[in-house]
């Protein structure tokens, strides 16, 4: 497990993997290595990184993240690019040319058309494509939203709806399908719309909190300070309050926006990422990142603040091979530029290094995180909630449980750890995420009472409205926190609506420009930041073909096969109990206690246990001759009856006749008639066996076995009776070899008695 995980890292230049860190970026990055590129844009609807030369645009797929991805090329006319996004079906390309004009390209027909602002008084702030059934594209203007449908016949946009509102700036993520429009003097009054496949929902207006630096000053909220994140299928808005040095969080529900408390920040510049539902708060000035798992509304960081690590950077490699030609570049990608000025954080988990035109993907180091806490149950809960590196999370969980057992920690501690795993497995079975094939069955979710997963646009199923309508109203009335309070399980019901379940195409239209919100604002205020983005960079070829990446993919492939880190009872048996049993030795009562706790946990969750665990329990108890307890375990069906269990009882009962009888009784109760008859004979009860065989019509046991047993008893009456039995009840038995030989034997016995 952990061996595998580490082998996935290149052996050379681990980039100081010994250094403490919980989050890392993996070398090599995706490098936009086309000469003449002028800007980088990110289309979050399609997860594309887009750059352009004077008349061409190149787009790289960032999902799945592949440093060697080759770009797709499209030709467009020359001109400034403020914002660029592909339509969700990838047929159209929309390019914002100015604050009044958007140009559309049809990629198949190469036709173009424009959309311009009608009046002089309004500006286009930006736009995004949507999978909302009402419309295909939404253009955000200073006067509000315009919703357009694309008319493929007339090759133009038809205005569907207009939502009037004064807008200073806006933010949107395709992940959340949520657009927030800022207005007011301080830009802290927000109107939100969610444009999901279920339609458009208008969120209630709300204001964000801002501390005042002095009595009369009124700070203006910047788009840069607000970020929409999607975690566990819930949508939050996080807002940096530089004065209070707090990060406020707001959670969106269908009919309410509720402030959820604040996190402290330690840097005036804050960036946010979400990796595998873990919120990463980059304290950019301090060059550290703090992790929060806000699943349970806990404000406690997952771990201490630690730097972001660059992994797998080939120091020796580069120094030998690229020194002469590309020295400068190497330096630039070195650790020194972590949290460089040119870094832009893209939703959810990408970092764009604009000056070097590189795209990094942020990873969690699950191993380091799990090693940094001694609170076993909470570490397990954390790991069980992970969806990306499921294989590694699972292996870590198995390792942790094994270790606590081998260390003989108090039973109550181990029991809680086991509870976490069992609950998680049970949940994954219920939601179907344990079985890949069942993944699409989202409809079942609406039956789960707690699915109030908010306004989350992530829920694509049509049952959504009925499912959510009631429960959400209920929830917000009862206080929204209740959702996480009264749930003790590891997962929220909405967990399986995870973002990862989106089809790639549907995914997104948050064409944040590379500078994200910055760029949008730029169009308002003079475009200086846009220039930043558009600055042209020196071009480099991606050095070599980075062999390292292949290794890195190993665990990802395993991950892709596993949809959940949940551990089945069978795996618990094979990788925990059986393997621990070998290593432990000595008095098994501790291990039996652990198994009992596991059975208790599994029973509460109504999970079926494989008989092999029962067999192991019997072996453990029998080895230390605790037969009285073993009897109780069987009689009370703590170890459920099965043929395997029965056979093990017979085996362990060699030293203890009572135990052996339990095994025999179990065979009988399971109606395994043939085995029962054979065992009765083996124990010398051939007459009972014969009676039983007759009653239960067991015809598969050879008559010769009974005859042999009767003969062995050296009682001619018994032999005669058995012989007579078969003669009477088996047609033609008189003509068989058995009859003849034993008839002769019987005669000999009788004559010898007579003589």
């Amino acid at each position: 497990m952990s061996g595998k995980a580490s082998s996935s890292q290149p052996s050379i230049g681990l980039g100081g993997s010994g250094a403490l860190s919980h989050v890392y970026i993996q070398y090599p990055p995706l490098h936009c290595s086309i000469p003449g590129l002028r800007g980088l844009h990110y289309d979050d609807g399609n997860k594309l990184l887009i750059s352009s030369t004077s008349d061409q645009i190149f787009s790289w797929k960032t999902v799945p993240f592949n440093p060697l991805a080759t770009p797709t090329c499209d030709s467009i006319s020359e001109g400034p690019i403020l914002c660029i996004r592909f339509s969700l079906d990838a047929k159209l390309i929309a390019v914002q040319r100015s604050s009044t004009e958007i140009e559309f390209y049809n990629r198949e027909t190469k036709e173009t058309f424009f959309r311009r602002c009608r009046s002089e008084s309004e500006n286009i702030l930006g736009f995004f494509w949507t999978d909302c059934p009402l419309c295909d594209i939404v253009i955000v203007k200073t006067s509000g939203l315009d919703l357009f449908a694309y008319n493929s016949v007339s090759k133009s946009l038809d205005l569907v709806e207009t939502r009037k509102s004064n807008v200073s700036w806006y933010i949107y993520t395709h992940e959340s399908r949520l657009v927030l429009l800022a207005s007011g003097m301080q830009c802290r009054t927000f109107t939100g719309f969610q444009l999901s496949s279920a339609g458009m929902i208008r969120l209630p207006k709300f204001e964000m909190a801002m501390a005042k630096p002095e009595v009369n000053s009124k700070p203006v909220l910047d788009a840069e300070d607000v970020c929409i994140v999607t975690v566990y299928g819930r949508i939050y808005c996080l807002q940096v309050d530089r004065v209070a040095m707090l990060l406020h969080s707001y959670r969106f529900y269908r009919d309410a926006v509720v402030q959820q408390g604040s996190l402290p920040i330690y840097s005036s510049k804050i960036a946010l990422s979400v990796v595998d539902n873990v919120l990463l708060v980059h304290q950019v000035d301090a060059k550290v990142v703090i992790l929060y798992d806000i699943f349970a509304d806990s404000r406690v960081p997952v771990s201490a603040p630690l730097p972001l690590l660059l992994r797998g950077f080939p120091r020796s490699y580069s120094s030998s091979r690229f020194r002469e030609s590309e020295n400068s570049e190497v330096n630039n990608t070195g650790e020194s530029v972590i949290y460089g000025d040119n870094w832009t954080f893209l939703v959810p988990d990408l970092i764009c290094d604009i000056s070097n035109k590189r795209l990094w993907k942020i990873h969690l180091d699950l191993e380091a995180i799990s090693a940094s806490s001694s609170e076993v149950p909470s570490v397990l809960e954390f790991l069980q909630r992970r969806k990306l590196e499921t294989y590694k999370a699972k292996q870590l969980c198995l390792g942790i449980v094994k270790t606590v057992i081998l260390e003989r920690r108090p039973v109550s501690v181990v029991a809680r750890a086991i509870d976490v795993l069992v609950t998680s497995y049970s949940h994954s079975i219920k939601t179907g995420s344990y079985f890949k094939g069942l993944k699409n069955e989202k409809t079942s979710l609406s039956n789960v009472p707690n699915v109030n997963s908010p306004v989350s646009s992530t829920d694509v199923s049509t049952s959504r409205i009925d499912g959510l309508g009631k429960s959400i109203r209920h929830e917000s009335a009862a206080g929204i926190d209740s959702e996480s309070l009264n749930r003790s399980s590891t997962f929220s019901a909405s967990e399986s609506e995870d973002i990862s379940s989106f089809e790639p195409l549907k995914t997104n239209s948050n064409d944040l420009q590379l500078g994200g919100c910055k760029a949008n604002r730029a169009s308002l205020s003079g475009a200086d930041s846009a220039n930043e983005v558009h600055r042209s960079f020196s071009k480099y070829q991606l050095p070599g073909s980075s062999d390292n990446s292949f290794n890195a993919n190993i665990s990802e492939q395993q991950d892709s096969q596993l949809t959940s880190p949940a551990i089945s009872p069978d795996e618990m048996y094979r990788f925990v109990f059986a393997s621990v049993e070998e290593e432990m030795g000595g008095d098994p009562s501790y291990l039996v206690s652990i198994i009992v706790e596991f059975l208790r946990s599994a029973n509460l969750e109504k999970i079926k246990i494989h008989p092999s665990l029962y067999v192991l329990t019997i072996q453990l108890l029998a080895r230390y001759e605790r037969f009285a307890e073993l009897g109780l375990f069987i009689i009370n069906k703590i170890l459920e009856p099965s043929k395997e269990v029965a056979l093990q009882l017979l085996e362990s009962g060699r030293q203890n006749i009572q135990t052996r009888k339990l095994g025999l009784d179990m065979l009988r109760q399971l109606s395994l008639h043939q085995d029962y008859v054979l065992l009765l004979m083996q124990d010398g009860y051939y007459r009972e066996a014969l009676r039983y065989a007759w009653k239960h019509k067991v015809t598969t046991v050879q008559p010769s076995l009974f005859l042999e047993a009767a003969f062995a008893s050296n009682d001619s009456q018994h032999l005669a009776a058995v012989l007579r039995f078969f003669s009477d009840f088996i047609p033609d038995f008189h003509n068989t070899e058995d009859f003849n030989s034993y008839y002769r034997v019987l005669n000999e016995m009788n004559s010898s008695i007579a003589a």
Binding site: V411, L632, I638, G684
Partner: protein, 513 residues
């Protein structure tokens, strides 16, 4: 007046314990006698009873060295023998009275002897060991007398000592009665057991859990389980505590009021008979100075504020001046264990931990108690709740139309119709069943010697004088006895009824053909 007043021979019961290895020389015969009831019988009478017994044992040993005399049926008496330890014999002589109630089942009486001895050993260790400790026999005599008198007081009905008779034919002494629990509750119980035993630390300890008067869980060996269970039901369970009186689980209720009456006199009568005993000068050099604990004494246990049961039976610990914790001696490990008994509502938990591994004696025990309170309290609440929810009450195991006794000899478990239901049977039925059991006992005894290793199946179905069906069936170590009073006339009907019972309540264990 209690036992003292019945201890005249008129009652027709004599009970003695003697050691064949002692008093082999002329003039030292008295040395053999370790216990005699009634104590006020003249020594000549005592010696003649013992002499007869000894003679028979010696004689029968010629033919059957391993199992000598079991019973003598004389014209007016039955002598029941039990060799408790090698050469230590217990003999009970009961008078065959004209009075119809005095009809015994010999095996049942022998089980009484066995029970006395087992309980004695549980508290004081083997008799032989005690004899070796003090060869003049004073020590053992000073222990036997109060112990057995306390034991016998449980059989007092009014002023009469009433031994188990034919009316008890649907009971089986020397067994445990178990609570039937569902899987979920059973797992919770096991979980509790583990937590309980982990409170002591790393030493091997044991536990026994009862709900009301029924066993729920044990980690002790079968023999130790039976003994401790017997004691618990007698003195420790909520029922035993509340009645404050003697009550064998299977003897009670009908005679509870009379018991209560006798208890008050017991303490007094005990002292009287002790005076008689000591004045009788059997133990000239007996060490009368040291205090003998009397674990079977009535009304000595009570529930403390912390939920643990306390008693001053074991006196006061010299070191800490705390009340000494009870100790018992386990047959399986031959080790002395502290008893730690916690009670919550109907649930009684008994934790046993080796005396040798508890440091600081009483302080160590109270530290363990603290641990139990801290670690197991929640679990105890939960288990009690689960068990009481699933419990059907006193008549839970009554099966309409049947009066039955089911014995699982392999597990030492028995289950029977509730006593209240058995009393509805007519005397004829009970007598028939008692007689049948007597026969079955004989048959079982014979099979044991004839056919070592193989268990015999047996089936008897009798139509009694009152037209009741009296049925016994033995299959592979399990026994089922049944009286059907209102059954139809045909044997087929009776056997159908039996079959139904077997498949429904015994997992079909008795339905072999």
């Amino acid at each position: 007046m209690g036992l003292a007043s019945v201890s005249t021979a008129s009652e027709g019961i004599q009970f003695c314990i003697f050691d064949l290895r002692r008093g082999q020389n002329e003039g030292q015969e008295l040395d053999k006698i370790l216990f005699f009831f009634p104590a006020d019988l003249p020594f000549s009478t005592q010696l003649s009873v013992i002499g007869l017994s000894e003679g028979l044992i010696t004689f029968t040993r010629i033919f059957s060295p391993e199992a000598a005399c079991e019973v003598i049926e004389a014209e007016r008496h039955s002598h029941v023998f039990y060799e408790a330890e090698s050469d230590i014999w217990m003999v009970m002589v009961v008078e065959k009275s004209k009075e119809a109630e005095a009809i015994w089942r010999i095996e049942d009486l022998r089980k009484v002897l066995k029970e006395v001895h087992s309980l004695f050993v549980m508290f004081y260790g083997p008799v032989r060991a005690m004899l070796e400790k003090e060869p003049n026999g004073g020590l053992i005599r000073s222990h036997f007398y109060p112990f057995i008198m306390d034991y016998l007081s449980d059989f007092l009905v009014g002023k009469r000592l009433q031994l188990p008779s034919f009316r008890d034919c649907l009971k089986e002494r020397g067994n445990v009665q178990m609570l039937t629990v569902g899987r979920e509750a059973a797992i919770e119980v096991q979980s509790l057991v583990r937590i309980l035993e982990s409170c002591v630390g790393n030493t091997q300890c044991y536990s026994l859990i009862l709900f009301q008067d029924l066993l729920v869980s044990t980690t002790l060996s079968p023999d130790d389980t039976i003994n401790l269970f017997t004691y618990a039901v007698q003195r420790l369970t909520p029922h035993a505590l509340s009645s404050g009186a003697s009550s064998w689980s299977y003897l009670r209720r009908a005679s509870t009021s009379s018991h209560a009456g006798s208890v008050s006199t017991m303490a007094h009568s005990g002292s009287v008979s002790e005076q008689i005993y000591h004045s009788s000068d059997i133990s000239p050099s007996g060490d009368n100075n040291h205090r003998v604990s009397r674990p079977l004494q009535h009304g000595k246990w009570s529930k403390g504020n912390d939920g643990f049961l306390v008693t001053d039976i074991w006196g006061v610990d010299v070191g800490s001046s705390m009340i000494a914790s009870p100790t018992v001696w386990l047959q399986q490990t031959e080790e002395r264990m502290y008893l730690c008994i916690y009670q919550y509502k109907g649930l009684t938990l008994i934790l046993l931990m080796p005396v040798s591994s508890i440091l600081n004696g009483e302080q160590g025990v109270s530290a363990v108690k603290q641990q139990v309170l801290e670690n197991a309290s929640l679990k105890i609440l939960k288990v009690e709740e689960k068990l009481s929810k699933g419990w059907g009450g006193e008549n839970a195991y009554h099966v309409g139309g049947y009066r039955y006794l089911l014995v699982d000899g392999d597990r030492n478990i028995s289950r029977a119709s509730p006593p209240g239901k058995v009393t509805t049977l007519t005397k004829e039925s009970l007598l028939a069943m008692s007689k049948l059991r007597e026969e079955v006992d004989l048959e079982k005894g014979r099979a044991k010697w004839d056919n070592a290793g193989l268990e015999k199946d047996l089936e008897v179905c009798i139509r009694a004088k009152n037209n009741a069906w009296v049925i016994a069936r033995i299959t592979r170590g399990k026994e089922l006895y049944m009286v059907l009073e209102k059954a139809n006339e045909t044997l087929l009907y009776a056997s159908d009824a039996f079959e139904k019972f077997s498949s429904r309540y015994c997992n079909g264990a008795f339905s072999l053909d």
